[in-house]
Every structure is written in structure tokens, then in C-alpha cells.
């Protein structure tokens, strides 16, 4: 690990908060990278991972927007750019929205990052190596009437972005996060979303990294009283795409709707994890995970619903459907429940198999070919995820998804 470690230590010595970074690095070093025997990493192709192919750079590698990013910018009108973890541009044109880059190592959960992520090697790497934390704050009572686009470009050999999105009381916003780049790179985003009392956040994360990238992302939604978080995560790119999306209900009445989807092609691995943690009463979580694996790709969905004693009248639902598009593709589904309260509603369902036969017949009975029926239905997985986006932006992402799917050779079974 010498090449990577040398560049990392040099980076750490140059950055503010060196002390915290050194501690995070040392925690990472003693924990080490996960191995295939770690249960939570058993599906990751860790034998392909050689961190010495990556290095840490002390400045962002600026490049022009991709055509798709440029369209996003044009459609949204409000853009925050983060390149290799560095906040490179933002604008102040939206009232009640503040974007800043800070050196802060506290998790929004109230503890330090070091404590909060102590057992997660990649998160610790982020704490050590993210250039700074980009903070997007929506002021109390503000309704942001335009979607905010955050463009994450991974242009260097490694990219550690840390983002805090904080919605003040009774505020409301729609945010689109778009990840691109990542050629032969390690991309490790760590994000926290804090939704204050009665606030509402619609969030769509669209991951379109290069298929050589190692993408290890972790997000945590923190919901206060009567807060609403509607989050969609779309995974298309990366060689290894790990996306862990957690939500914690810290007070009563919160509502979390999480939708995740992925498309696996080539030898990609999509590794999606969720943890809905109900710590307070009258909270509601709905999780819908749908994915498709083609070629020789693999996927795993691991979801945990945890309900603490006292979180009465929690309503938690988890659904996972995986679609196999080739005989050589493989999907696993691992739903888990940990319920310590009796007065709750809890349901989970999962399936792995081909497309719904009756839906397909219905489309075919109108004259749609089997191949197009399959394409429409898979594309539909993604379209469903975009329901929270305003029309123009949804159209844009949809057409990008559609063109990506058009390249896929799907053989109707």
C-alpha cells in the first residue's frame, strides 16, 4: 500500500485539520481494507482492488463539463460543482440557500466523524482524505423553487467528497446529485442529509461513473420531527458500485421514502445496502429497491429495518425486486429485520427472477415486441425513481438512462 499511503500522508500533512486526518488515517490503517471474509463485504470483488493503483492529489483536476452535465446545468440553472472532493464553484443566486466549504469533522448525527464511522474503512479514508466538507444549507422556512444540481466530477485518480446537506425547519428543496468521471479511480463519497422539523427534501443521486471506477458511497439521512426525506439512488456506472443509504429517525413523525435501482452490465458488481433506523414513534419508512443484472454482472441488496423499543406505531416497509437478464448474471437479496417494539407495522418482500410475465404480456398484447417490452420495463425501473424530479430534469435523466439502455443487448427469455 506504499504508493497510495505516501500520497495520502503527504496530502494529510498539507491540509487543515491534520490532527483529525492523521487519527482517521491511523484508524483506517489499523482496521485495514475489508477482506472477502468480512460478512458485509463478501460480495465485493476485493481481490481486484489494489489501492496502489490510486494516489491522492492535493488539487482538483479541472475539466470541461461533459455534454450531459452541461445539459443538467442548463436545465437547472443552479449548480454546485465538486471536483475530486473540492468545492470549485457555486452561486449565491438562490435566496435562502448557502453553499460553503468548511473544515469540520463532526457528523451531523452529533458525534465526531471518527466515532461515527469508526468501523467503516472507506468512510475513515474519506474522513482522512476529503479536502473539506461541502455544506449546502437551506434556511429555515425557505422553499427552494428550483432544483439544485450538485455535479461531482471524479477526474483524478482518487476522489473523496464529503457533503452535508442541511434543511432548516419547515424548508423544502429538491436536489440532484450527479456523479461522473472515475476512470480507473477510487471514488468515495460520504454524505449526510439533515432534515429539520417539518422540512422536506427530495433527493436524486444519479451515479454514472466510468465502468472502471471503484465507487464506495455512504449516505445518512437524519430526520427530525415530522421531517420528510424522499431519496432516489440510481446506479449505472462503476466496476464495483457500493451504495449504502441509511436513514435515522431521531424524532417522531418523520417519513422516509427510499428508492434505489441499478443496472448491471459486463462484469459490474452493484452492492446496495440500506438501514432504516426507527428510533422514534410514529415514523414511516418505505423502501423500494429494483435492479437488473445483465451479462455477467452481479448484484446484492442487503436491507435492514431496525426498530427501537418505544418507537411505537412505526410503519416500515421494504420491497426488493431483482431482475435477471442473462443466465450468467446473479442477484442476491438479503432483507433483515430487527424489531424491539411490538406496536409496529412491518413488512418486507423480495424476489429474484425474470420480468413480470403478465405485465410483459399486457405490453405484447398491444403489439410491443418482447424485446421492447423488456426494454420499457427495465427503463421503467429508473423512471420510477425520478418521480420526485420536476418534469424537465426528469426528462433529461430519463433520456440519458434510455440511451444507456439502448446499448444493452437484452435477450428476451
Amino acid at each position: 500500500m506504499k504508493i497510495f499511503a505516501d500520497s495520502a500522508l503527504s496530502f494529510i500533512s498539507e491540509r487543515p485539520d491534520t490532527h483529525v486526518r492523521e487519527r482517521a488515517w491511523s484508524s483506517f490503517s489499523s482496521l485495514g481494507l475489508p477482506t472477502p471474509t468480512d460478512e458485509v463485504w463478501r460480495y465485493a470483488p476485493l481481490s481486484d482492488l489494489d489501492v496502489d493503483q490510486f494516489s491522492v492529489s492535493s488539487s482538483p483536476k479541472i475539466a470541461a463539463d461533459s455534454p450531459f452535465a452541461a445539459q443538467l446545468v442548463e436545465t437547472s440553472g443552479y449548480v454546485v460543482r465538486i471536483v475530486d472532493g473540492f468545492l470549485t464553484s457555486s452561486d449565491d443566486s438562490l435566496p435562502g440557500v448557502k453553499v460553503s466549504s468548511v473544515h469540520d469533522s463532526s457528523s451531523l448525527s452529533g458525534t465526531s466523524d471518527l466515532e461515527h464511522y469508526e468501523s467503516d474503512s472507506f468512510a475513515l479514508l474519506n474522513v482522512a482524505l476529503a479536502p473539506a466538507t461541502t455544506v449546502v444549507e437551506i434556511a429555515e422556512g425557505t422553499t427552494v423553487d428550483r432544483p439544485i444540481v450538485i455535479l461531482y466530477s471524479a477526474n483524478g485518480s482518487s476522489s473523496f467528497s464529503r457533503t452535508h446537506i442541511r434543511l432548516g425547519r419547515s424548508s423544502s428543496a429538491t436536489i440532484v446529485e450527479y456523479f461522473e468521471g472515475g476512470h480507473d479511480a477510487l471514488v468515495v463519497p460520504l454524505s449526510e442529509y439533515e432534515v429539520a422539523d417539518n422540512a422536506s427534501l427530495q433527493l436524486v443521486t444519479y451515479q454514472r461513473l466510468d465502468t472502471t471506477a471503484w465507487h464506495v458511497a455512504r449516505t445518512t439521512g437524519l430526520l427530525r420531527r415530522d421531517a420528510r426525506l424522499r431519496q432516489s439512488v440510481l446506479g449505472m456506472g462503476a466496476h464495483y458500485d457500493r451504495s449504502r443509504n441509511d436513514a435515522e429517525f431521531l424524532d417522531v413523525g418523520g417519513e422516509n421514502e427510499l428508492r434505489t435501482t441499478f443496472l448491471g452490465t459486463g462484469n459490474q458488481v452493484h452492492d446496495f445496502r440500506t438501514h432504516q433506523f426507527h428510533k422514534a414513534a410514529r415514523t414511516r419508512s418505505t423502501l423500494l429497491s429494483k435492479g437488473a443484472v445483465a451479462d455477467e454482472s452481479r448484484s446484492v441488496y442487503t436491507g435492514l429495518i431496525e426498530i427501537e423499543k418505544g418507537a411505537k406505531r412505526t410503519d416500515a416497509r421494504q420491497t426488493n425486486h431483482n431482475l435477471l437478464l442473462s443466465a450468467h448474471a446473479h442477484a442476491d437479496s438479503v432483507p433483515n429485520l430487527d424489531i424491539r417494539e411490538n406496536d409496529v407495522m412491518c413488512a418486507h418482500a423480495s424476489s429474484v427472477g425474470p420480468l413480470d410475465e403478465l405485465q410483459r404480456w399486457y405490453l405484447e398484447s398491444r403489439g410491443v415486441t418482447p424485446k421492447d417490452a423488456e426494454r420499457l420495463m427495465i427503463q421503467g425501473f429508473f423512471y420510477e425513481m425520478l418521480a420526485t424530479l420536476p418534469g424537465e430534469l426528469a426528462d433529461l435523466v430519463e433520456s440519458d438512462v434510455t440511451s444507456a439502455l439502448a446499448k444493452l443487448q437484452v435477450v428476451a427469455s
Partner: protein, 242 residues
């Protein structure tokens, strides 16, 4: 050109039970044929078997459209040959929009959204429904009208409608009946309607009515037959299981 749909000796099994036991029917484009019969007589089975539903197994007989055997064709090919079914309970297809379905089904994309709106208005369907995913979160009545929008765009030679009238209020029923009747002249559509109710027939004048019992046609007649059914019910037409 006049087209002919010919069903001869059709036998169909559902869940291991023979439901259609030699069904015969012949109709031409531009005609309206109505199939009436008690519950369980095989009406819906006919509709599903015609469009190749995977749960229905054809045991024998033939269905030809202008001489071509449809039973040997896939559901897609049957539709493309000109036979399309409107379902009693059309399924939800999350993530798929009506316009994308129609384009994939071969509809001309030019002004398609506008034509869909026009069709929706003719059957008194709110046009915002057209932008939702196919049948998702629609009421029973809205789904049926959405099926009519599809038919109006795809313009099949023969449209088979399975209890399109149930769940519709009187006004909507009138609009649906008028739309279907107009189709018989607009593109010479042959309309095969499965129904329980005479009401639909007030504005959709049938060429022929067929009474079905125990999986076959037991009586065929003109529009007057529906009055006989109204007065006497299906009992006089009931045949004993052979």
C-alpha cells in the same frame, strides 16, 4: 377491404379446467358483435385466449384473421395483425408511460400526444392521466377509458372488449359506447364486446348478439335478442353440461 375474424371450435383450458368447449363465431370488420352470458360461461376466457394470455391453454380449434391462423402467433404478432384486447382489469406497468407503450406498439409518433389527448376527451378521461405510468393509481373506470385511448391510437382491425362497461357510470358508458361505434366507421373497426349489461348497447348498436353458456355459443340473433335476455334472463338458454 373487409376483414374477417373467424373462430371455429375453440377449446381453452384455464387452471386445468376446460372452459371454452368449442366456441364458434364469425364477424367482419365494421360490425359490432356482442357476447352475453352468465358468469363463468367462458366470456372472459375467450378474450384472454384470443390475445395469447400465458395463463390460458388452447386445446383445439382455430382463430383466423383473413385466413391467417392467429393461435400460432405470439401475442405481439396477433396485435400487429390487427386484433387487440381491451381488458376488464388492465394491469399496472410501473415506470412505463402510455406514450412510450404506444410508440413501441407501432403508433405513429407524429402529434401522438395530441391525438392521445383527443382520444381521452372522447371517452371523458382526464388528460393528466396520460402522463402517469400505465394504469398506475388509476380507478377502475379510468383504466377502462385508458384502454379505449390505446385502441383509438392503435386502430386495430378487430377490438375485443372484455366487460369494458363495468365500473363506468352512465355518462362514461355513453361516451365509451359512442367512441366504439364511431370506430366502426372511422377505420371500419370490428368490435367484439363482452358485456353483462344492455345499457352499453343503447348507443352501440349490435350487428349480432351471441349468448354463451357452458363455453359455447347457444344462441345468435339480432339486436332484439338483448330484449329477450332482459325479459327472460339466461335460464332459457342454459344447456346442461355434456
Amino acid at each position: 377491404m373487409t376483414s374477417t375474424l373467424l373462430i371455429e371450435g375453440l377449446r381453452v383450458e384455464v387452471a386445468g379446467k376446460e372452459v371454452l368447449k368449442g366456441f364458434d363465431l364469425s364477424m367482419k370488420s365494421g360490425e359490432v358483435h356482442v357476447i352475453m352470458g352468465p358468469n363463468g360461461s367462458g366470456k372472459s376466457t375467450l378474450a384472454h385466449a384470443l390475445s395469447g394470455h400465458p395463463g390460458y391453454k388452447v386445446l383445439g380449434g382455430s382463430v383466423t384473421l383473413d385466413g391467417e391462423e392467429l393461435l400460432e402467433l405470439s401475442p405481439t404478432e396477433r396485435a400487429r395483425h390487427g386484433l387487440i384486447l381491451a381488458l376488464q382489469q388492465p394491469m399496472e406497468v410501473p415506470g412505463v408511460r402510455p406514450i412510450d407503450l404506444l410508440v413501441a406498439a407501432g403508433a405513429n409518433p407524429t402529434n401522438l400526444r395530441q391525438r392521445m389527448s383527443d382520444e381521452a376527451q372522447r371517452v371523458e378521461l382526464r388528460t393528466d392521466v396520460l402522463d402517469r405510468f400505465v394504469n398506475v393509481d388509476l380507478s377502475g373506470g379510468e383504466r377502462k377509458r385508458a384502454e379505449l385511448v390505446q385502441l383509438g391510437i392503435l386502430r386495430p382491425k378487430f377490438a375485443v372488449l372484455d366487460e369494458i362497461d363495468s365500473g363506468l357510470d352512465v355518462d362514461a358508458l355513453g361516451a365509451v359506447a359512442r367512441r366504439l361505434f364511431a370506430a366502426t366507421t372511422e377505420w371500419d373497426c370490428g368490435v367484439l364486446v363482452i358485456t353483462h349489461f344492455r345499457r352499453l348497447l343503447q348507443e352501440l348498436t349490435p350487428t349480432m348478439i351471441h349468448v354463451v353458456s357452458e363455453g359455447r355459443v347457444v344462441a345468435t340473433g339480432g339486436p332484439d335478442l338483448s330484449e329477450v335476455l332482459e325479459r327472460d334472463g339466461y335460464e332459457p338458454f342454459r344447456i346442461t353440461n355434456s
